[in-house]
Amino acid sequence: MKILIVDDSSTMRRIIINTLSRIGYSDVIEAEHGKAGLEKLGQGGVEMIITDWNMPEMDGLEFVTVVRTTNSSIPILMVTTNAAKEDIVAALQAGVNNYVVKPFTPDTLKEKIESLLG
């Protein structure tokens, strides 16, 4: 399964990639903001998206909104520091399937990914 990680923090991308590889997902591509994420997505093959919210160029919410205009089925997990209720609701409204608040544990990420993949 190819997973696209969109996060402007190189540290956070490494942590997520590392966690994913420990739970059995090693086919991962990265982008540092929403705009780059859309380009990667356009190259095809991506089966799941993990995205941050706060990023330059194009933030995570805008990215999700754009993705959902053309793809209603790809699972999207938002991983962010934004923890306010209205933020979580806004993300779900935009088309995010599940939401993880940083800092997260590997177990949380695994649980959320597995719930998305059914």
């Binding site: 540290t11 942590i15 933020d87 409204q93 608040v101 940083k102």
Partner: protein, 198 residues
């Protein structure tokens, strides 16, 4: 929160994504600038310096955190290599003695503990991204103050371009992964229930 509250939230005139590409809040229109007091100009300059320093700190901490991650990766790879070697040794005819096997198993077990601790340390590096976003929020507010002072003094020395988006809510919930997960899960459940109702 039920659907009507969510709807109300979405129609108060602000886009839910507001904070992402949020335009800088416009300060109150400055009155015609009075002659710039020398002390204020110095204060604006100092503030610009502080912003640059905070920017530099976030860049340096990200770079240094990645160096720590590199070291942890190296340790992790060495442990895996060691585990492979021990597995090979365990299969050697000369290592079939019970005591030797026991010792090798203990070394394997210690290696696994080291590996787990390395992973734990890597996970803890999330603090860097969280701290960075907190600092960016501070920088965002400092820039507003800086720009306001510059406007007031009419020097035209605006702060630099677009910042990464600011997490204005970062301090609103607990800081441990468990607290934050519980909070998010509760909101998701409420949202799903409200969707089912409507």
């Amino acid at each position: 929160m039920d659907q009507s509250e969510i709807d109300a939230l979405l129609h108060v005139g602000e886009k839910p994504a507001g904070k992402g590409k949020k335009a800088k809040e416009t300060p109150a229109a400055p009155a015609p600038a009075p002659p710039a007091p020398k002390g204020s100009a110095v204060a604006a300059d100092k503030e610009g310096e502080v912003i640059s320093e905070i920017d530099a700190v976030t860049a340096v901490t990200e770079r240094e955190t990645n160096k720590v991650m590199d070291q942890l990766d190296t340790i992790s790879q060495l442990v895996l290599k060691q585990q492979d070697l021990i597995t090979q040794v365990m299969q050697q005819p000369g290592a079939q003695d019970g005591a030797v096997q026991q010792a090798l198993h203990e070394i394997m077990s210690a290696g696994k503990t080291i590996q787990d601790k390395v992973y734990e340390a890597m996970d803890l590096m999330q603090f860097q991204d969280i701290t960075r976003q907190k600092l960016e929020r501070i920088v965002y507010h400092l820039r507003q103050i800086h720009d306001y002072i510059v406007d007031l003094l009419g020097t035209g020395l605006k702060s630099e371009g677009e910042r990464a988006n600011i997490s204005r809510t970062i301090a609103q919930t607990g800081t441990t992964p468990d607290e934050r997960k519980t909070h998010a899960d509760t909101v998701i459940e409420e949202f799903k229930r409200s969707q089912q109702k409507s």
